[in-house]
Symmetry: D2
Subunit: 264 residues, 4 copies
């Protein structure tokens, strides 16, 4: 008996992406001899031929859950390696021309506070996407990092007074699977692009350090976006790089933003 | 034949609130001869006796949809009037001891910019809750308004430099149904509590006005919260008043907040 | 004196989109002699030449707020007309090569329940985007509509029993500005693509009607997506049409989805 | 020189809660010899005397970051232990009468699929709150778990056909700090309360198992809520227990819900 999925559909239209969304799971990676554990939200998709009614969704899930049994901590050194492994497993279980996996998670980075040199830990949003088409493998890495903007126009018009606000920088790098781009380097690029980087812990001396840095480095959202692109261009080769900065204006109810792209 | 809802439940436990959540509908009100249209998200709940398996959910919806047929624009002058009307209709359709309706929407207020005196429109979040228990009617009105905070501690430590950020003030007033508290007055109270109120449109002169106001009026999140409580205490009698201020710190990834209460 | 925005930036990189995000405002339109009021969330963006440090953000806002003074209700018949008007105003105030506006709002549609023929009102998510590049104008219309899916595979394997769940269909149409595509027709296409359309109000007879319809019309998420594409292909000419269906599986914690595209 | 925080405020009003919100950090616990790592979102609050303008926010953060230096994995066996430790540290740094910490995170639980007995991992939402008032310590534990509801009324009216949908059960237990209530037991109570529990992985046999279970166990949202309360009453002593079930109706755009409480 044929599975319902394998009969012809009413409308023979090829679908680009069919799969699962908002799947939560556990992933362990071993990086520089340090274990990281992620509880990411993942998406997995494959294309669907016009002759088949549906895909076998449980095979996508199995490609994820079987990794749990295989002591993943010993084998993977990055989320993109896990992603590639899942798609390779999937290829054994389900026919497709194109497939992809998107892994949304968070990256903790240990820091020292800028003046008092105390320990602090900073958590950044990350997305790791692996794409497989025929024989080629590529990836898209994204980091989302908080910082701030200080308006240079207001500063010049108001004798040293200005408006300041929290901002978010989103840096996305598309490249070959084997082009190694550490997420930590991407976070560093975004942090250096703001008027000032921000910290979870700031003692009084640290606060003064950050405040002083902000007034010395007033930047529009456009400046932060261009800084992200210029720093990325110098650092990440053979990539298409997208940068977005969103500033939660302190003098408005709305946000302002800037988006750009460079190819290296 | 008995409806399934009316048979005894397996576990005879009284439930405090049973009803519908995230219902979107259209509401029209006529206020000071101006028509307002809302597409609110609403919640309606009643209590459920331990002897009944379920409530008749469609009667809650009918109490809302029947209003649509009755040309509501001609009859209601506020969202709380609509809310009360819905619960009174519901009382004819379904037995209960306690009931409540929560209407989440937005309030547009026309303003002039502070220096250039141009027209601008400001949209604020509002929630109108009507509660009915036996013979008594009460209400809970909430506004959520954007403004800013300017750190007085950093300002005093850094020779006129400080950190500034967007903040949100949430003011909640619980009172008898008949105690008239205009939502616009509640918005006004919150806006006056910040370091500066904010505007959708700011020409260069207006921006300087707001920047200057911020530095003259540095406030902690605690100060904004207390301002909201002190101004409310003077203005709204016979109420229990809750105030919360949340500040999206520009030097941190996290927010800071303050919450308090006064009874008038 | 030169505005800070007009000086050369540190990094001469052209930016594709600079503008405002999450701006809330009030928009009135007159459609078939019926007034609609929207409180949309809007985005406006223009490109920025590599020789300028920033754009003049307040001119984007002014292009919106000036409409408020001009009694918009008398002049606009759709959100895309308002969008075009805003970008045309903006062109007078600020130089650009490309610009765009995205208007996110909600569309109320009056319906009759399927069996009892009672009045009900259904609210759908809509996004209207207008794009301007040199001399050309185009638009992207999107509707997001709730319905359901009924698993045909489980139904065939379990003697008439299956799993059923809420689903969402998102239909996006890209076309010339002057190609008139009513949002109501797009909603109709999505509703007809599900196992059954859903209603805010359902009396007992209506509920039986919908339940019966669901079991007669079991559909995978792939089927719903293809239905949306096939129905759109027949109805909307000279368009690029994207369809996505997301099903909130009742037997899983995650969702499943299907995405496809046709060009007409 | 006095810190700005220590001067008297303009309005001498005691504030109930002042603190930090949306702080992300890393927490490690060692439970049954298994290491769990959390990247929770946390809130910490203390009360503020009417004589002080503000609290010293950085001391709240320090109470969190200092734990990072102390090799927390070796010392804590639960999130509530970490929470208590943070508040005890804070007490050394900052005067208060009342304090609290709220830790939002996720709990992975290994399961076997119901028929094929394959490995699967299920991730549930959890919130651990620790409250300290004078000399007393208490806690509030919450789990948020996905399952489904099957309408018994529709089933009885439509000859074995009905509507089915995803639902969420939220169970909250308030008790003394020392009353040990495993989060896993709370998840188990919620899962047993639904028409059927759900799984991330379901092979064809498992799917039939779950579908069959759903039709044998039709439940209103009210039934699920009462099941949660009845099962909790039997299992958790000396607690105040709140249960909420929210059902994402497959025949409506809105949700239905039920809320109740028992004291044990």
């Amino acid at each position: 008996m044929k599975d319902t999925q394998d009969i012809p559909p009413e409308h023979p239209i090829t679908l680009e992406k069919v799969g699962i969304l908002n799947l939560k799971t556990l992933m362990k990676i071993d990086r520089h001899n340090q274990e990281f554990r992620h509880i990411p939200t993942i998406t997995i998709h494959i294309d669907l031929d016009e002759q088949k009614k549906g895909i076998h969704m449980s095979r996508l899930i199995e490609s994820v859950t079987e990794l749990l049994e295989e002591e993943v901590a010993r084998k993977h050194h990055s989320l993109e390696e896990i992603g590639k492994d899942i798609l390779e497993k999937l290829k054994q279980k389900h026919k497709f021309q194109k497939s992809g996996i998107i892994i949304d998670s968070e990256l903790p980075i240990y820091q020292k506070t800028p003046a008092s040199k105390k320990d602090t830990i900073e958590i950044h949003g990350i997305t790791v996407e692996v794409l497989h088409d025929g024989d080629t493998w590529s990836k898209v890495l994204t980091v989302s990092v908080t910082g701030n903007t200080v308006c240079p126009h207001a500063l010049s018009m108001n004798a040293g007074k200005t408006h300041i606000q929290r901002a978010r920088g989103i840096l996305r790098v598309e490249t070959d699977f084997n082009n190694e781009i550490p997420l930590e380097d991407m976070v560093e690029v975004v942090e250096r692009s703001f008027s000032s980087r921000v910290y979870t812990l700031l003692k009084s001396d640290d606060e003064s350090f950050v405040v002083s840095r902000m007034y010395e480095n007033p930047l529009f959202v456009e400046d932060v976006c261009r800084n992200m692109l210029a720093l990325s261009r110098d650092r990440f080769s053979s990539c298409t790089i997208h940068a977005t900065c969103i500033s939660n204006e302190s003098i408005h109810r709305h946000d302002v933003y800037a988006e750009g792209k460079v190819v290296t």
